[in-house]
Symmetry: C2
């Protein structure tokens, strides 16, 4: 990638979030997002298919991070341990508390729009499929890999919603760990 576009994607995301927070998704245009980020519209479309897709750039990074950690996990780790460690590492690398307020803005925008909720749901489904595939790639049983993927994406989904809830101060990793303990306690033993 040419030197002059370094950071363009991040600048576009920040500009889009700021504009959407200020005036709502509908009234914001790609032209003004691009202008605020100091790039052309053409550069915008190199990174994102449309203005809504800017809201989901983080999910692609999340998917890549999880898959990478799963692929690099020790060969003797079992599937549950591997996905939980990947979720923990991704939370620490991608969602430090400094990102909570922009994630809250994003969450509010998505909560107010059915089509965005659907897009988010499909991204989470893709995440689950990618996690299952990564577990199978390292030799996991298909059913167990699918089960581990569903469980960890479910925990992540609930944890993320809690992380951006009003008044929450714990880190995403702490919330995830808490939910894993609660999930374990929830499962009936018969």
């Amino acid at each position: 990638m040419a030197r002059w576009t370094a950071g363009a994607k991040e600048r576009l995301q920040a500009a889009a979030f700021e504009a959407i927070r200020a005036r709502g998704l509908e009234s914001v245009t790609v032209a003004e997002i691009a202008a605020a980020a100091g790039v052309t519209e053409r550069t915008f479309f190199r990174y994102f298919a449309d203005k809504r897709e800017v809201l989901f750039g983080g999910q692609e990074v999340l998917l890549a991070t999880w898959v990478e950690h799963i692929a690099e996990a020790p060969a003797d780790s079992d599937a549950g341990r591997v996905v939980v460690e990947a979720m923990r590492a991704a939370a620490e690398a991608l969602f430090p508390n400094e990102r909570r307020s922009s994630s809250r803005v994003r969450g509010e925008v998505i909560a107010g729009d059915i089509a965005l909720q659907e897009r988010e749901s499909l991204k989470m489904r893709a995440l689950s499929a990618a996690v299952a595939h990564a577990l199978v790639e390292r030799g996991g049983d298909e059913v167990e890999s699918a089960l581990a993927a569903q469980a960890v994406v479910g925990v992540f989904t609930v944890a993320f919603a809690q992380w951006i809830a009003p008044g929450e101060s714990r880190s995403l990793a702490e919330i995830q760990d808490d939910l894993l303990v609660r999930l374990d306690a929830l499962l009936p033993r018969s």
Copy 2:
């Protein structure tokens, strides 16, 4: 509902499955589904928004069955027990082994069409939201209700895929029970 339409929905579903299995979703028309079921097109559209929606009629019944069982669960049952019992009861009531072959046909049709997979994914999201809501309605904590809902819908999703997998002979309820044990074993204890 008028007497002459009794069973029309079920006949439409059976006719649609048969026609889709024989010639594929694209070439089947609402007119021929209606004719095969002995009803008018207008009757078809009273039950289903389009021919694709016929494939998802069972999910609405599933949602209603789960929610009903959750609402009627003993007040002193904890969330995990309640959702697991609801999942077990729904499997026994709605998915006896006699329905496995039509569910396989449905699964193959959906697996071959990205838009149908997305529609299925959104229905499962609605199921999870409805389960969480039903748990909150009976006094459950919001986070724990969401967690229990995600977990049980995840187990159901993997169990259902296994139930219709080639060569599988166990009942859906048995597979679900097995996966609950495996999920418990998967969760790391630290």
